[in-house]
């Protein structure tokens, strides 16, 4: 449900419970306690960010726990983006002589 109902933000125990639910829902396990702790930190950061995104959104979007809640921005971009490498997409000229977009 909407993160707005979680104000003032999940407490440590609630956070761990939410993380456990996330692990069950998306079938996640971690190889050692250090990795678990790191992913829990990332999860907490993402929860806070989801709350901020929802506050900033001008539409009706809801943000919260998703299959990617234990990933950093960098990991997410690397795993799911379309870029072949770091850097911008190639500059493709839109206007090649004509506004007639039926022409290839």
């Amino acid at each position: 449900s909407s993160l707005r109902s979680q104000d003032p933000g999940p407490q440590p125990l609630e956070l761990k419970q939410a993380f456990t639910l996330f692990q069950i829902q998306y079938n996640r396990s971690y190889s050692n306690p250090e990795e678990y702790a790191r992913r829990l930190d990332i999860f907490a950061h993402n929860l806070a960010q989801a709350q901020q995104l929802e506050e900033e959104d001008l539409g009706t979007a809801e943000f919260g726990v998703t299959p990617f809640s234990d990933l950093t921005e960098e990991e997410f971009g690397r795993l799911y983006g379309h870029r072949r490498m770091d850097g911008e997409a190639p500059k493709v000229g839109r206007e090649v002589g004509s506004e007639e977009w039926g022409e290839s």
Partner: protein, 247 residues
């Protein structure tokens, strides 16, 4: 342009939501979804096409490290079509130099591909009259998205930094909802409005978003949706009258 359009409502057009796993192949999945949809519309025949063929046979090598929709269309043109997903299934990884295109029967093909203008009204018209198209957007807000219509600003979602390709399958307008903007600005909290939106098919499985789909605000180039609107052409181009040069 009709007020609403949703190609999911026509049987045999939109295939099941796919899951990329850890392969950055959104570009291939969007392109395959585009051809599947157009094939379904033009030929009244449902097909599921091989994303793996696009990955294995692309001219750029490792398609799981990213790619572009136009490269997928070029691969389809070069190979004279695509095999079915059933015959050449998705593996989630690329086998370098193991293009098996010649081993499998082609079940769909394209005539060419085009880029549409960066105008949401024209994109809506094309979508409504021809079929689904691919778009490439900034995916920043999708990571933690659950449901609803995303309405961002260029500050919260840079329209120039597009990094994720998806299939545009429809558009509509939400029921009248409380206006978040009015609340934020301290204006009347009971202010209500309806929100025009695009419907997009993602490739992150059905457990993400609205059963694998999401909605973006329509009308202000949210997250760069107008930057690269590409589509294959599945029917024969209309015959044109010959022109003659004045003597």
């Amino acid at each position: 342009v009709p007020p609403t359009c949703d190609w999911r409502k026509l049987d045999g057009v939109i295939s099941s939501v796919k899951k990329q796993e850890s392969c950055s192949c959104c570009w291939a999945m969007a392109a395959a979804g585009n051809i599947e949809a157009l094939w379904g519309i033009k030929h009244r025949q449902s097909v599921e096409l091989s994303v793996q063929e696009l990955l294995d046979c692309g001219r750029c090598g490792d398609g799981c490290r990213g790619g572009f929709v136009w490269d997928a269309f070029i691969t389809v043109l070069n190979n004279s079509g695509l095999a079915s997903e059933k015959d050449y299934p998705f593996q989630g990884q690329v086998k370098p130099h193991r293009c098996l295109a010649k081993k499998h029967k082609k079940v769909a093909w394209i005539q060419d591909f085009i880029m549409l203008p960066d105008n949401e009204q024209k994109i809506a018209w094309y979508l409504a009259t021809q079929g689904p198209i691919t778009v490439t957007i900034n995916m920043k807000l999708l990571k933690l998205y659950k449901k609803g219509v995303i309405e961002a600003t260029p500050t919260s979602c840079d329209p120039f930094l597009v990094d994720h390709s998806v299939l545009l399958v429809g558009f509509g307008k939400s029921e009248s909802v409380a206006d978040r903007r009015a609340g934020a600005a301290g204006a009347q909290p009971q202010s209500r409005r309806s929100i025009p939106f695009w419907i997009l098919k993602n490739s992150w499985g059905t457990k993400w978003g609205e059963k694998g789909y999401f909605r973006l605000y329509r009308g202000n180039n949210t997250c760069g949706i107008t930057k690269y609107p590409l589509t294959a052409r599945v029917d024969q181009p209309a015959k044109k009258r010959p022109v003659s040069c004045p003597p």
